[in-house]
């Protein structure tokens, strides 16, 4: 059924066994993002060295889509340069806005392609983007405060 395109096995796996959940003691930037329409919340820490993201940890409450998506993002974007992370984020955002017309490039997005089905459910796109927008905000903060260099 249509629902299975939303709730891929990979997503439910990440939801039940999230990666990088639990906030690091130290960080270069910390952000707290909420989805005001449903109350989902995510706190996200990032650290970076020499322009490369060295750690992404997070904690939060929310639906399977928001929690799996931040788990996937935290795994995918770590050890990338800010530039690489930004281009991955852009590709993921385009996938979310594709209304089901794109499958996503697994070479770039890896597990995040499993979220492609979300783009057919307009109400859930914000869920999938919550962690990524938190990451984007944290990346801006850490680079503007020069703590990523």
């Amino acid at each position: 059924m249509e629902l299975d395109s939303l709730y891929q096995e990979v997503i439910l796996d990440h939801y039940k066994h999230p990666l990088n959940k639990g906030l690091s003691d130290t960080y270069g930037a910390q952000v707290h993002h909420i989805n005001p329409s449903c109350g989902d919340e995510i706190t996200l820490n990032i650290s970076a060295k020499d322009g490369v993201i060295t750690s992404i940890t997070w904690d939060g409450v929310g639906c399977s889509i928001s929690q799996a998506s931040v788990s996937i993002a935290s795994d995918l974007l770590v050890n990338k340069s800010f530039q690489e992370a930004d281009s991955i984020l852009q590709e993921f955002t385009e996938l979310m806005q594709s209304k089901g017309t794109k499958e996503g490039n697994p070479d770039v997005l890896e597990d995040a392609v499993s979220l492609a089905g979300v783009s057919k459910f307009p109400a859930r796109i914000k869920c999938a983007l919550l962690g990524w927008m938190a990451f984007k905000d944290a990346a801006v903060r850490i680079t503007t405060t020069n703590r990523g260099e």
Binding site: L3, L6, L12, G62
Partner: protein, 412 residues
């Protein structure tokens, strides 16, 4: 007349469509907005087709007909609530009605009973919809008044045990919901009204979840203001009602055409209520549609609708409680409670549950239901809410039960 849901459903064109590849529409989200009978849809469109003109202006037949239709709708609302026509103000929705009261109080002259200063005090409750919380927060912020609230007990009732210390000698307004949109709790008003009036405060009642579902007589409630939205009462969107017995003393909120008595280049005076509160060309077609909605509900009878919903709420609660790991958030019996039933199901997030239910044709609301402080207080990040109306029956509840159990398997 026996209550015949099958016949009622025939009046609502939307039930002719299907959901998600041919599934029957099981609409359990009337707490957010109700569906509309054909008579309401036609009343609104017929106004545009046959009578459209700006009310209270124009020296022509259409203007007369439009004014008659619009003022006729006001009479219908007044009769429905046991009020008089000059006590009924049409607004955009209940949110605007509540903001109107809060802003008008903020505009009150020094010495007026409505004046709110830094010495004054505003009371709300923990179970308010954001629409009956934030306007008062903001009035407090603008005036320096203090804000306090009645707490909610673990079983979803208002804690009135400290009523004399919550409502103080300085309290100017007590704003509360008649029926919680999350918990379904119907709040007792007598003690609150008595205490509020004893200290000279006015009582503002958010009746969004009660007026559509039960007989209301404002002369018996004792409150000073009552608000509701047309769209939750089988009426159109874009029209709400503010009822008050003290409008004559209240200054205006929005200024412009229609609401004046005289105007010079430097000053203006105000028309009497209700026109003082209806600046600009109003939502005429929507008000007329609301009139048709009230005709529709009245023909069935609010007593019959209320009884049907209480019976069905009992069936809904019993069926939900029989599902393993399901917890109801709010009263788990039908004493002083309406047909909004919120619940959680084990570890399944409400957003995921709602998505699964949708895949089965079952429409519910998930999230904090615009009552974030309440869900926080109850210790749940979000809930799923099924809300009933006159067009629901036991088969809708059964579809919900089956779908919830399906979700438990799906997300196991």
């Amino acid at each position: 007349m026996s209550f015949n849901v099958a016949d009622i459903r025939k009046d609502f064109p939307i039930f002719e469509r299907t959901i998600r590849d041919g599934k029957k529409l099981v609409y359990l989200d009337s707490g957010a907005t109700s569906q509309k009978p054909l008579s309401v849809i036609e009343a609104e469109s017929n106004f545009y087709k046959f009578n459209n003109a700006a009310v209270h202006r124009g020296a022509h037949q259409l203007a007369e007909e439009a004014t008659d239709a619009y003022e006729g709708a006001r009479s219908k609302v007044a009769n429905f609530l046991g009020a008089t026509v000059d006590e009924i103000v049409f607004t955009k929705n209940a949110t605007e009605s509540l903001n109107l009261i809060a802003y008008a109080m903020g505009n009150a002259q020094p010495g007026s009973r409505f004046e709110v200063t830094s010495k004054d005090h505003i009371v709300v409750t923990e179970m308010e919809h954001h629409a009956n919380l934030i306007p008062w927060q903001q009035l407090a912020a603008r005036t320096g008044a203090s804000l306090s609230w009645f707490e909610v007990t673990a079983d979803g009732r208002l804690d009135l045990s400290k009523i004399d210390s919550v409502i103080t000698e300085n309290t100017k307004v007590v704003a509360l919901t008649h029926q919680s949109n999350v918990l379904g709790t119907i709040n007792p008003l007598a003690a609150i009204v008595k205490r509020a009036h004893a200290v000279g405060a006015v009582v503002v009642l958010d009746a969004c979840q009660s007026v559509p579902h039960m007989p209301i007589d404002v002369t018996k409630l004792g409150v000073d203001f009552l608000t509701f939205s047309g769209h939750k009462a089988v009426g159109p969107t874009g029209v709400g009602v503010l009822w008050s017995s003290v409008l004559a003393e209240l200054p205006p909120f929005l200024f412009g055409g229609s609401m004046i008595e005289t105007v010079t280049m430097t000053s203006a005076t105000w028309a009497p209520a209700p026109r003082r509160f209806e600046a600009g060309v109003p939502n005429m077609a929507q008000a007329v549609g609301l009139g048709a909605a009230i005709d529709y509900l009245s023909a069935i009878g609010m007593d019959a609708i209320f009884k049907h919903e209480v019976d069905l709420t009992g069936y809904l609660i019993d069926g939900l409680l029989a599902i393993p790991e399901l917890s109801i958030v709010g009263p788990s019996n039908t004493d002083a409670r309406g047909g909004s039933v919120s619940f959680t199901v084990g570890q399944i997030h409400p957003h995921d549950l709602g998505q699964y239910l949708d895949s089965q044709g079952v429409a519910v609301r998930t999230g904090h239901h615009c009552a974030w402080p309440l869900t926080r207080k109850l210790g749940v990040p979000a809930t799923t809410r099924a809300s009933l109306y006159l067009y629901n029956d036991e088969s809708d509840c059964d579809a919900l039960f089956t779908a919830i159990m399906g979700a438990q398997k799906y997300f196991a």
